[in-house]
């Protein structure tokens, strides 16, 4: 895999040196981050349309916050600090499964369930973190919380590649059924869609995507990348095709610009923050377009 990545990286590094591309292209981590964006942007944008349609925005935020606890757990269990993937995946998956189960089996509203789980997870995370403070340079937490483009290496790219591939493989054939499951579970069942199962699959998808994107966007802000591009796309599209396409484009553009612009202008902001700010600008633009364009006025019911 390393050889394959180098195949992509080396010509770009050369172009950076020659001045064809901006200076910072000389650095492998920049190219890694951009490659990740090209992969992550479309996937997050696409899955984001489902998150927004199924109204699970708050849910995906809870999973993102759980990542913090997952990292703390990983440090506690002695995992390598810059890549505690095992405990991250493990904890976030268990968290997501349990949250969905509670939502299904109790009479509590989704809001309440998520609120409870979020708080418990954060409390656990805080306790464990304070305990492991002695062992670790707190830099690491900044990286996990807000993303750290500097530390994207081949392992991260491999994880991202595998996860994205899996999500595409599962998400695209099951897209319709997952949406239908949230429109009317009864109807979905009659049509042979096991609504419960697909809900779980979707939750797992969000969870693993969240974990895989931590390095680029950071735990606190990953769900923003699910929601904001999809919300912006929703404002300016009139069919599912447009919705899906614009969401992917906006997400990818936000990632790429969020990585390049701070480097170009030497603004020392974490990549996660920059990406979300760029996405927010797109969102603001979409609101303006929708508000001012007569084409959309009739559609707001």
């Amino acid at each position: 895999m390393h050889a394959f990545y180098d195949l992509l990286r080396i010509p770009l590094i050369e172009m950076g040196r020659n001045g064809v591309l901006p200076e910072f292209f000389q650095y492998a981590f920049v190219i890694n981050a951009l490659l990740c964006s090209l992969l992550l942007g479309p996937v997050l944008g696409g899955v984001g349309t489902m998150v927004v349609t199924k109204r699970l925005a708050f849910f995906s935020q809870a999973v993102g916050q759980a990542a913090l606890t997952g990292v703390a757990l990983g440090i506690l269990l002695g995992e390598p600090i810059s890549a505690p993937y095992v405990s991250l995946f493990g904890f976030c998956i268990l968290f997501g499964l349990l949250m969905n189960y509670t939502r299904n089996r109790t009479n509590m509203s989704t809001d309440t369930v998520i609120g409870v789980f979020l708080s418990v997870s954060l409390a656990m995370g805080a306790c464990i973190l304070l305990y492991v403070t002695g062992k670790v340079n707190m830099h690491v937490l900044d990286n996990i919380l807000f993303g750290s483009v500097l530390t994207v290496n081949d392992t991260d790219m491999n994880v991202l590649l595998i996860i994205s591939g899996l999500c595409l493989l599962i998400g695209i054939p099951l897209y319709n059924r997952m949406l239908l499951a949230s429109f009317n579970p009864s109807l979905a069942r009659v049509r042979g869609v096991n609504a419960t199962l697909y809900d779980y699959i979707f939750i797992l998808m969000i969870t693993v995507l969240t974990v895989a994107s931590l390095k680029i966007v950071g735990a606190v802000l990953v769900e923003a990348l699910f929601i904001i591009p999809a919300a912006a796309a929703r404002n300016v599209s009139r069919s599912m095709k447009g919705f899906f396409l614009y969401s992917m484009i906006i997400a990818t553009a936000s990632c790429i610009l969020g990585i390049i612009l701070p480097m170009q202008f030497e603004i020392p902001v974490p990549s996660g923050g920059a990406i979300i700010l760029v996405a927010s600008c797109f969102f603001a633009l979409s609101v303006l377009i929708r508000a001012s364009s007569t084409a959309f006025r009739g559609a707001s019911a």
């Binding site: 200076e23 650095y27 390598p80 095992v86 493990g90 998956i93 500097l150 030497e266």
Partner: protein, 223 residues
């Protein structure tokens, strides 16, 4: 009955008994998946720990014992020790950062012009202070007069004053870092964050710890 004949007479009838649904299986599936996840994770963590603990460096970091010349290593070790002293003075005194000339006179390597200094490239040192809000930074830049022998060093001292309220949160930046550049007149960026330094061509020097040295001699370290 349709036209006097029962349905059963007209077509072979397939009877289906509608099965009542019960959600019990969801619980078992959840428990199963949870156990599976826990098992896989425990095994993975166990395997990872048993494996070689490789010291992985980022591309913008240097290993002090492997990537520097012998003379540069001397400067680095001295700088490392000096940094601790500078930090102590800053914390316990009036918050002052030691002047280069003072340290020269007090025979503090690598600032003092002794035989080691002459051998290690005769670096010229200067100090820059950056008090900014709650952040209190001092930079010590050493540029070599003999560029064939040594590159440039930058000691970044950073002390944040935000933690006076007694809670246990540590400062988020280590109190000193040592950066290296192969150029004798390296470019200094406008702001001194990690990212800015890296973009200007500096690399952070990371020391080898005693434990790593032992592992290296035992052949376990694969960095």
């Amino acid at each position: 009955m349709i036209m006097g004949r029962k349905l059963e007479d007209m077509h072979p009838v397939r009877e289906e008994f509608v099965r009542p649904c019960n959600g019990g299986s969801e619980t078992w599936w959840l428990i199963g998946c949870a156990l599976l996840t826990l098992t896989i994770c425990s095994l993975s963590i166990g395997v990872r720990k048993a494996n070689v603990q490789s010291q992985s460096l980022h591309s913008w970091q240097l290993n002090a014992f492997r990537d520097l010349r012998a003379e540069e290593r001397g400067t680095y070790s001295a700088l490392y020790t000096a940094a601790i002293e500078i930090d102590d003075t800053h914390q316990n005194g009036d918050g002052e950062w030691l002047e280069v000339s003072d340290m020269e006179q007090d025979f503090v390597p690598p600032f003092v012009h002794d035989a080691a200094w002459r051998r290690q490239g005769k670096l010229v040192w200067q100090r820059k202070l950056l008090p900014a809000g709650t952040l209190d930074m001092a930079l010590y830049l050493g540029e070599p007069q003999q560029k064939e022998i040594s590159g440039s060093f930058l000691l970044v001292m950073q002390h944040s004053h935000g933690n006076g309220s007694g809670h246990a949160a540590p400062s988020t930046h280590p109190s000193h870092e040592i950066w290296y550049s192969p150029s004798p007149h390296p470019r200094l960026p406008a702001s001194y964050t990690d990212q800015a330094l890296i973009t200007s061509g500096w690399k952070e020097v990371v020391p080898l710890r005693g434990r790593d040295e032992i592992m290296r001699t035992k052949g376990e370290n694969v960095s």
